[in-house]
């Protein structure tokens, strides 16, 4: 059997948390874990990848991998998969991971499974668990292909270091005739949207039920009182009320705080998959039939615009300014 191949992502000179989750989990699926790292900073992340269980690294250091969207990476990853015949390829379920997996799938005519929450082995095949319909239905899919491609959602696995040494490396070069495709000209960083939505112990999230952008101020106040961060549903991000950095859900961030407080969020599937793993969920919504109440530990049928300010007062009375 071929190795388990993990596509690594680098941010600010470190492997992303999701990358370490994938490498750690890959150890439970096969004897040999290989990683492919395509980034000018690739070398700086190899010790961490080794420490989490990667014994072999395929490294591409060219600037094109960072400057161009998808195509250069797809070129070399496809060639690598074709050569190694990995028994499974794990991709991070990020924007980049999705573009790359799609292209490798088309190039090698290999099927791709997205939004995996768990992957286990069953003989030579793999069982991939996903959740659909607002995370109310668990679906298990068995792979049939020689090298199935699987996109994994963040926080599905726990990163665990084994303390092993850095992996053996082999350099991958982009052929001169490889098409580069779309190019990043500039990266614009939006003004900071508050610290650590993904690390916060408490997340206070708002949706359409907050009525207008200005009302997010009360959510910020509540989040401050609880030492937490503010999140949002896709609907209000698309409406331009808050920046995309606050979006929780399928195409936004995945959060697993101790307490998630959903204010005026009905609970579209897109949102639920990003917060379902929270330890405790409090929901405030006018509609008693809102799907969010199926997940909540404490549900309040009421107007978030009344309940949240009242809660701020109540917490103030209990000494939380």
């Amino acid at each position: 059997m071929g190795p388990i191949l993990v596509v690594a992502e680098v941010a600010g000179g470190s492997p992303t948390p999701l990358t370490l989750e994938l490498v750690s989990h890959a150890r439970t699926l096969g004897d040999q874990v290989a990683v492919v790292v395509l980034d000018p900073d690739a070398d700086s992340v190899l010790p961490a990848l080794g420490a989490h269980g990667a014994s072999q690294a395929y490294v591409g250091r060219e600037m094109a991998f960072r400057e161009h969207l998808g195509q250069p990476a797809a070129h070399v990853v496809s060639a690598l998969v074709d050569r190694l015949h990995p028994s499974l390829v794990l991709f991070p379920g990020t924007q980049e991971g999705r573009d790359l997996a799609a292209r490798v799938s088309a190039r090698l005519q290999l099927p791709v499974l997205a939004n995996a929450l768990d992957v286990t082995s069953e003989g030579e095949a793999f069982l991939v668990r996903t959740a659909i319909f607002g995370a109310t239905l668990d679906v298990v899919t068995r792979t049939k292909a020689r090298s199935p491609l699987v996109l994994v959602r963040p926080k599905s696995f726990t990163a665990r270091a084994t303390g092993a040494s850095p992996p053996k490396t082999e350099e991958l070069l982009l052929p001169a005739d490889a098409p580069l495709g779309a190019r990043r000209l500039e990266s614009v960083v939006a003004p900071s949207a508050g610290p650590g939505l993904e690390e916060a112990k408490v997340v206070v999230s708002g949706g359409r039920g907050m009525q207008e952008a200005a009302n997010f101020e009360v959510l910020e106040h509540l989040a401050r009182q609880l030492g937490g961060a503010v999140g949002a549903s896709r609907a209000v991000v698309d409406a331009g009320w808050v920046p995309y950095a606050l979006q929780v859900g399928q195409t936004g961030k995945t959060v697993k705080p101790d307490v998630y407080i959903a204010c005026g969020i009905s609970g579209a599937m897109q949102h639920l998959v990003g917060m379902k793993g929270s330890s405790h969920i409090v929901a405030i919504n006018k509609d008693p039939d809102a799907p969010i109440f199926k997940l909540s530990d404490l549900g309040v049928v009421g107007d978030a615009l009344k309940v949240v300010p009242a809660l701020i007062e109540e917490l103030r009375a209990r000494g939380r300014t």
Binding site: Q95, T143, A268, V300
Partner: protein, 259 residues
């Protein structure tokens, strides 16, 4: 220029979805079927490109007979013509097979720009547009919250976790758009009437030159083996706000030692 836009008919996303217990395929009978809300943003974006540059929008879908309704809607919004790939042999096609079919349809249409939603609201796979781009050998510019086409160059603002990237490529290209890119227009009465006489071409896999063995359920590279209700969270308490809800929430937060 000709701009293709992918549209998909899905069960109303505000309703409760169902899977056929025998085939694990989505149950469409009885569900209200609508244009995927994300696709309306795609149609709007494509129309604006054509309004600025001249040309025509061609709406494309793969789906059963009723899927023609979303093509009529796209044409009512302003698309000039439509391609409907309808073939019973396509039932159960996975993302890769869908991409094969749509790529072949784009090639046949002579379009030099494809606009699509970032992902469907029923399946959320989100790999079809980039796979189409790869099959065509085209660049893909994904997660656009702004799109501009000028003298053969396409430029987008690509949504990123930190803000946005400015991304550029020559045509031909595939672009995916987020819901933040625009506010889709409503079809006007005149548009709805005009859509009835615009050309809607029906195609089969044979018309596209795709071997039937490469599409449909049998060609899928994986099989669903079970679908079961997700483990329920511990039964939650549901209260009506009679003015005391804030106190109850504060008590709950105290129980959890958050305060």
């Amino acid at each position: 220029m000709k701009v293709a836009v992918f549209v998909k008919q899905i069960p109303d996303p505000t309703g409760v979805g169902r899977l056929d217990p025998a085939t694990y395929l989505l149950v469409r009978d009885g569900a209200e079927l609508v244009m995927d809300p994300g696709d309306a943003n795609g149609v709007e974006a494509a129309l604006r490109v054509v309004e600025a540059n001249g040309g025509e929008v061609v709406a494309m879908t793969m789906g059963g007979e009723r899927a023609a309704e979303v093509l009529r809607k796209a044409m009512a919004m302003g698309a000039g013509s439509a391609l409907h790939i309808a073939d019973d042999r396509l039932r159960g096609s996975d993302a890769l097979a869908t991409a094969r079919v749509l790529a072949a349809a784009v090639k046949r249409s002579g379009c030099e720009l494809v606009v699509a939603g970032t992902e469907s609201t029923d399946g959320y796979t989100g790999t079809v547009p980039a796979a189409v781009a790869e099959l065509l050998g085209w660049p893909s510019l994904t997660f656009a919250k702004a799109l501009e086409v000028e003298s053969g160059t396409v430029r987008i603002h690509r949504q990123t976790p930190a803000g946005h990237d400015v991304v550029e490529s020559p045509l031909p290209a595939v672009v995916t758009v987020t819901g933040a890119i625009n506010e889709p227009r409503y079809p006007s009465l005149r548009g709805i009437m005009a859509a009835k006489s615009r050309p809607l071409e029906l195609l089969t896999v044979d018309d596209l030159g795709i071997p039937p063995g490469e599409v449909g359920l049998a060609a899928a590279g994986q099989e669903v083996i079970s679908a079961a209700p997700a483990p329920e969270r511990a039964a939650g308490e549901l209260i009506e706000d009679d003015g005391s809800a804030a106190r109850r929430i504060a008590d709950y937060l105290a129980e959890l030692k958050v305060i």
